[in-house]
């Protein structure tokens, strides 16, 4: 065995990339299996609670499948390594939690600016700073959207179950490639550590969408690495493909060369935002319970949505007019659907329970003059269904 066992390609004993079948699995493991099923072939990460189970599973499962697992020296290195690997063609992945997510922010901006696809799982814990490392939080929501300096578009999923950890991780890889953006899976400690039934479909039923490349062979003519197609996404050539690309975090022209003018900068940054904004209807996902006639709309995500679902079902059983809007993508935010609900005129108020001090509530307040009731806890424990129910009844 080589001394770097984790990075070695271990001779395969017919290992299976897709664990088709029904499992009883924690969310962290389901997320890791989702990445494997999506064809992830490079993982660079640094251990951090409560995400470490993702790295541990991948360290065991990926090398026999021919992929590379590298435990990096820190999260700055982890994110840089996965961007580099992706620039060389890998489907690359890292997993972290709040403190590590903070450290990754600068290079998340690089991935956005260079338009290098990558997927980052952030298993949220109670924050800020070291906070409560083993206990739940949902306070990285705004960091996921605005954490790196400048304007750029991102996609962020919020699974509420181990099953969704699997399903949404597959989706995250596809969307990262399709739009050439960093994509986040915002688990939380509860969802990451709870075991539940997870159904993994046969490999052929798992949709795989890969980034588009140049449509002509290298050397034929100059490849413009940043000339977008009609979908605003440029095709991507990789290191070693022969197209002699140049990529930079500086503002750049269609060749990828630094082009340091306000005009080019404005055009580029607008495209980075618009390629997500204008595809929001394709990307955005949410679940609705009884929203059609609801006077009280509970908006929730992640583990809190489990309590919210319970509370809404109980309240309806009591004859209270209420419904649930569960965000599956927190970014893009389901702005259109919320505007529709408001315009329809039946909604009298919103309730936003979340394990932070009101991050998602701001987004809703931005859209409406209706009352937006808060139910917050800074972190460490799930919000209980009864607390939400009580607010619905009020």
């Amino acid at each position: 065995m080589p001394d770097n066992a984790a990075a070695a390609r271990v001779p395969a004993k017919k290992p299976s990339r897709v664990l088709t079948g029904t499992h009883f699995m924690v969310g962290d493991h389901a997320c890791a299996e989702g990445a494997l099923a999506a064809g992830m072939d490079f993982f660079g990460g640094y251990p951090i609670t409560p995400s470490t189970e993702i790295a541990e599973l991948i360290a065991r499962r990926l090398p026999p499948l021919g992929g590379r697992f590298v435990q990096m020296e820190d999260e700055l290195a982890s994110i840089a390594a996965i961007i580099g690997a992706s620039a060389a063609g890998a489907r690359s992945f890292t997993a972290t939690s709040g403190p590590g997510f903070s450290l990754m922010m600068e290079n998340i901006g690089l991935a956005a600016m260079m338009e290098v696809p990558c997927v980052i799982a952030d298993v949220q814990r109670a924050s800020p700073s070291t906070g409560l490392p083993t206990m739940v939080g949902q306070s990285d929501i705004l960091q996921a959207r605005w954490g790196s300096h400048g304007d750029y578009g991102v996609i962020a999923y919020c699974p509420d179950s181990p099953q969704e950890c699997f399903d949404l991780t597959v989706r995250a890889f596809n969307d990262a490639d399709k739009y050439r953006v960093p994509v986040f899976i915002l688990l939380d400690e509860v969802v990451g550590h709870m075991a539940e039934r997870v159904v993994i479909p046969p490999a052929e039923e798992i949709p795989i969408v890969r980034r588009k490349g140049p449509n002509f062979p290298p050397g034929e003519r100059r490849f413009l690495g940043y000339a977008p197609d009609d979908d605003m996404v440029p095709p991507m050539a990789h290191a070693g493909d022969g197209y002699k690309v140049h990529m930079t975090g500086l503002t750049h022209d269609e060749k990828g060369y630094p082009a340091l003018t306000p005009e080019i900068h404005d055009k580029l940054v607008n495209r980075l935002v618009d390629k997500i904004r204008l595809h929001a209807s394709e990307i955005e996902m949410h679940e609705e319970i009884a929203l059609d006639d609801a006077e009280t709309v509970v908006v929730s995500f992640g583990c809190t949505a489990r309590s919210a679902r319970h509370a809404v079902n109980e309240a309806r059983a009591e004859g209270i007019s209420c419904g649930l809007l569960r965000l599956i993508t927190v970014w893009p935010f389901p702005e259109r659907r919320i505007r529709e609900l408001i315009e329809r005129g039946k909604v009298k108020r919103f309730i936003v329970p979340e394990i932070n001090l009101g991050q998602l509530r701001r987004e809703i307040e931005r859209l409406t003059q209706l009352p937006v009731l808060r139910l917050n806890h800074a972190g460490g424990a799930m919000l209980k269904p009864d607390a939400i129910l009580e607010l619905i009844r009020s």
Binding site: P2, D3, N4, A7, A8, D41, F42, G44, R68, V70, M72, E73, D74, L76, A77, S78, A80, A81, I82, I83, G84, A85, S86, A87, A88, G89, A90, S92, E106, N107, L110, M114, P218, H238, A239, G240, D241, G242, Y243, K244, V245, H246, M247, T248, G249, L250, K255, Y257, P258
Partner: protein, 276 residues
């Protein structure tokens, strides 16, 4: 080769390394007397001499004047963030081990903000060549002192002279596990080029420090008139000691002209590389 034979050679319209430079990016942004162009030239010659197709070479750099090097070489090239060239390059080198990855960046980028990555990349013995252009200061931002600024040398953030012990980069690289370690200056064009080629042809982590003048930011504040003056210092004070083992004694002191600047190919050893 006789003079006659030279004359009858068909006239070449292009220089041998012209296709290795992105001519459409010229003129470059580097100052007169800057040493970075010479380093790019040496790297391009090493690519040409490597015998590998150009599309097997990848250049990665960080931020700063030296970090702009990746933008001028006509291979797949990545201009990353400050300090993070090495882990970015690791991602490429590990995902596509068949590629020849070279990192070109500055002393501040590689040894200060990226210092942790430097020691870990060397420890892992990742297969790549690192060319660290050491001009003793942060040039692009106007001459602040950095991790290699010699004690006593002045910078805008040390107006009375640097007081911190600088890194001795070859010693650091050796201690942390690099299998090829060299120090040259831009005066030693052929030796530098040869060192780059040797490192490219060796599996594992190669580290080449190359001293380069920064007349605009460092020279001006330190009574080194122009680029030529600094190269003259190299010429007078450099001593070549290939294979020297006492790297800890090779601190650089640009002020005290009685001290030699020791250059050479110091380390060339075999050790299992990261994917080996």
């Amino acid at each position: 080769m006789s003079v006659t034979e030279q004359v009858i050679q068909p006239a070449a319209n292009i220089h041998p390394i012209d296709n290795l430079l992105r001519a459409d990016r010229l003129p470059h942004i580097l100052c007169p007397g800057c040493g970075i162009g010479t380093v790019i030239h040496g790297y391009a010659h090493a690519i040409a001499a490597s015998g590998l197709p150009e599309d097997q070479h990848v250049c990665v750099s960080g931020i700063g004047c030296s970090g702009r090097a990746a933008g001028y070489v006509n291979v797949d090239s990545y201009h990353t963030t400050h300090g993070r060239a090495l882990p970015f390059a690791l991602g490429i080198a590990v995902h596509k081990p068949e590629l020849k990855v070279t990192v070109i960046s500055g002393d501040g980028d590689l040894a200060s903000i990226g210092g942790n990555h430097l020691i870990h990349a060397a420890r892992r013995n990742v297969d790549m060549t690192v060319i660290c252009i050491n001009n003793f200061n942060y040039g692009m931002t106007g001459g602040q002192v950095g991790p290699t600024t010699p004690i006593g040398a002045k910078g805008t953030t040390a107006p009375d002279g640097a007081i911190e012990q600088p890194f001795n980069l070859p010693y650091l690289a050796k201690a942390t596990g690099a299998v090829f370690v060299a120090r040259w200056t831009i005066l030693h064009v052929r030796e530098f080029q040869d060192a780059v080629l040797r490192s490219m042809n060796k599996k594992g982590f190669g580290f080449i420090e190359v001293l380069a003048p920064c007349p605009t930011s460092f020279g001006k504040s330190n009574k080194i008139g122009d680029g030529l003056h600094e190269v003259e210092i190299y010429r007078q004070r450099c001593q070549i000691r290939h294979g020297a083992t006492n790297l800890e004694e090779f601190d650089i002191d640009l002020i005290d002209d009685t001290k030699p600047i020791v250059v050479g190919n110091f380390v060339d050893v075999e050790r299992k590389h990261f994917l080996g």
